[in-house]
Structure formats: C-alpha cells, structure tokens
C-alpha cells in the first residue's frame, strides 16, 4: 500500500490566529512609547527639534502603518471572500439601471477584484445583459473605494474622513456610471464582445470554502500585498517625516490653500502617474494635511492616485475602443475635481 502525503504539516489554525491577534494588540499599544524611547533616549535626539520630530514620526509611523495594513487587510480580505464577482453578477442581472448602478458601486467596496480580471468581468457583465453604465460604476468604485485606502484613512485620520472619502467615492462611481450609461457607449465596445450577449441573466458559481481556508487565503493575500507595497510605504513615510519635521506650514498652506483655485487640478495632475500606490502616498498626505492642506484637495489627490490606473486602461483596451477609455477617464477626473472643489468650498 502506498501512502500519499499531500498536506505539509501546518500551524494549527485557531491558536495561531488568536496569538497573532494578541501580538497585534500589544504592538499597537507599545508602538508610541517605544518610538519615543528610541528617538529621544536611545538616539538622544531632542524633542521639539526638526530632526528629533522627523525621526520620532518615522519610527512611530512605520510600525503603525504596517500593523494597520497587516491586521485590517487580513480581516477585510476574509470578509470580501464572501462577495466574489460571480455572485455580484447574479445579484445585479435583471435589475433596473438605477438600482443596478447603485448596487455595482456598493459591490465595488466589498468585491475582491484585480485589474487582471477586468476583461473577463467586462465580458461576463455584457453576457448577462447588464447595462454598460453599471459595469463602469463598478470599475470606478472598485479601485477608488479600495480597502487599503479606506483602512489607512481610518487608522490615520479617524472614521470621519474615511467615511467621507467612501461617500464621495461612491457618489463619483454612481454619477459616473449613470452619465456613461446615458451616452450610448456600446458603439465604442469591440463588436466581438457584444456578440456574447445572451441577455438571459446569469447563474452564480458556488464553490464553498471553509472559514479557515478563507482566512488562510486572506493572510496569503495580505502578506503578498504588504511585501509589494513595503518599499513605497517606507518611502512615503520617509517623505512624510521630512515634511513633518522640515517643511514650513506656511509654504503648504500658501501653495495648496483653499484660496488657490489651481490647487485641486494641480494635485490631480501630480497624482495621475502615481497610480495605485495608495499605501505609499497616504503617509505623505497625512503629513500635508497636518501642515494645513485643505481636505478637498487631499481627498482629490488620493482619489486620483488610486482611481486613475494606466495599466487598467491598457487592459480594458482589449474590449473597448480608446475613445471610450478616454471618456471613462474624463468622467472620473471631472468627478474627482468636483469632490475636491466641493469639500474645499464647504470649508471642511
């Protein structure tokens, strides 16, 4: 008889999870005293000096952002595994344009999605007879109201700004989807894509996974994500620490202040080539906000970073014409500018 061992010995799941949660909590609470101790006692820097404050900020922010990413992205990815795109498609098919658009924007927050799946998703939606504007609402909302951005906003600025950001992002996605839906954009979709349209709704695949399996997947995803964004986070916090310690508040307020009508378009233009590096940019944003950059300008900056992704546009080019990609990008940019100007005008 031959015995086949396919399972490597693994850590027992629940004790490991409990231990990790405890270690996370301890790390969260000792972070500030340890950072101050390192900066002011071990390195003997003076509190209140430019260098001392910059170093203390860096030593405090790096573990804080890493803990936030590791902890909350794991939990969020676990929850997201219950809302796969296949299930979203089944839920959206056969509803009116308005409820489906609102639903698609909402699914953008919870549905796990990577831009390499953009083409199958697009075709799958067409196949199920889902209106084009609904698909675009999802494609706008999914990267913009992205879990990494939300988690970092919540952790660094509190729930108020995170929820405002989410509300603004959902509004841009819904309005953008409705506008694109009204423009008859089908004529700029590649003809072979429209041929698959069956219009007969959609069935949802249903492969069940255990809770443990979902947690293991979530942890693998988080580990890979953190490994990928770590250099950007360190760079971002380094720049943030420099701004925090050395850049005078007057300078930021003068250039990016509410009185400067070009501040919002300027930050959006800066943000476009910085696509998808939300993790690295938020620490810079944190420092700028601390120096008096208005909230509208800050939110516009972040949204433009995560929502305007040139690689995704290139991938979408396989299914839609360049003109529609340009229109899609224009609608997103106009939405982001509107959010920036509105929040600044409200004086938030």
């Amino acid at each position: 008889m031959t015995t086949l061992t396919v399972h490597r010995s693994r850590w027992p799941f629940w004790p490991t999870a409990a231990g990790a949660a405890l270690a996370w909590l301890i790390g969260w609470f000792v972070n500030l005293p340890v950072a101050n101790w390192l900066a002011y006692d071990v390195l003997r820097l003076k509190a209140g000096t430019h260098l001392g404050d910059a170093v203390a900020f860096f030593l405090y922010d790096v573990p804080k952002v890493l803990l936030l990413l590791l902890g909350i992205v794991t939990v969020v990815s676990f929850l997201r595994s219950y809302f796969p795109p296949e299930r979203m498609r089944a839920a959206l098919a056969g509803h009116g344009t308005l409820p489906a658009t609102v639903g698609a924007a909402g699914f953008g927050v919870v549905t796990p999605f990577c831009s390499c799946s953009a083409v199958p998703l697009f075709i799958g939606f067409v196949e199920a007879g889902i209106p084009m504007g609904v698909t675009f609402a999802f494609l706008i909302s999914s990267p913009m109201v992205n879990e990494v951005a939300l988690v970092l906003l919540w952790g660094l600025f509190g729930p108020g700004i995170a929820l405002l950001y989410m509300a603004a992002g959902l509004t841009v996605a819904i309005v953008g989807g409705l506008v694109l839906g009204r423009l008859g954009v089908e004529r700029w979709v590649e003809p072979w894509v429209l041929e698959v349209r069956a219009g007969g709704g959609a069935t949802s695949l249903d492969l069940r996974l255990s809770v443990e399996q979902r947690f293991r997947d979530a942890w693998t995803y988080t580990r890979d994500l953190v490994r990928k964004v770590l250099p950007y986070v360190l760079l971002g916090i380094g720049v943030g620490a420099f701004i925090h310690g050395f850049v005078p508040t007057d300078l930021v307020a003068q250039i990016g202040g509410r009185e400067n009508p070009f501040a919002v378009p300027l930050v959006v233009a800066i943000a476009i080539p910085l696509y998808s590096n939300a993790a690295g940019t938020i620490p810079i944003v944190e420092a700028l906000l601390g120096k008096g950059l208005p909230l509208g300008t800050t939110l516009a900056f972040m949204m433009a970073i995560v929502a305007i992704s040139l690689p995704e546009f290139l991938i979408l080019r396989r299914v839609i014409r360049a003109r529609l990609i340009a229109l899609f990008a224009t609608v997103v940019v106009v939405g982001i500018l509107a959010v920036g100007f509105l929040f600044n005008a409200l004086g938030l």
Partner: protein, 78 residues
C-alpha cells in the same frame, strides 16, 4: 490522463496556479496535461469572472484564488 486547465490572462497569479499545478502533479504522481486558457470568452463561458480559475477534467475546482499544490494534489487523486 488528467486534464488540468488554468484560466487567466497570464498575470502573475495565473502563473502561480500553474506552478502549483505542476508541483501537485509531481506530488500526486499522476499523468496530467496542463493547459493554459487565456481567451476571455472561454473563461467567461465557464461562468468564471475572477481569474485565476482551475478546472480539472471539466470540473471547476477554484476561481479568484490561488489554491496550494497540496489542495490541487488532493483534487487530482480524488
């Protein structure tokens, strides 16, 4: 002879599933052919929207995640 199909446009995630599938074939000691399905129409025809997907002998085993070599080996010898 098992037929393993890896569904996806060829991004890094799909390549990891393919690598795991190769490892699983060696682990399980079965004869298997690995195909890579990149045509999005064929992927969608299986009802899969989130890549990478994995189909063994016509049965959908996973989609939207990267199954381990151990998982794939278990499915191969079922």
């Amino acid at each position: 002879m098992k037929v393993i199909e890896v569904l996806g446009p060829g991004c890094s995630n799909c390549q990891r599933v393919e690598a795991n599938a190769r490892e699983a074939v060696a682990m399980a000691g079965v004869a298997a052919e690995i195909r890579h399905v990149t045509d999005p129409r064929e992927i969608v025809a299986h009802g899969i929207l989130s890549t990478p997907g994995l189909i063994i002998d016509g049965t959908i085993r996973s989609y939207g995640r990267i199954p381990s070599a151990g998982d794939i080996a278990t499915w191969l010898i079922e």
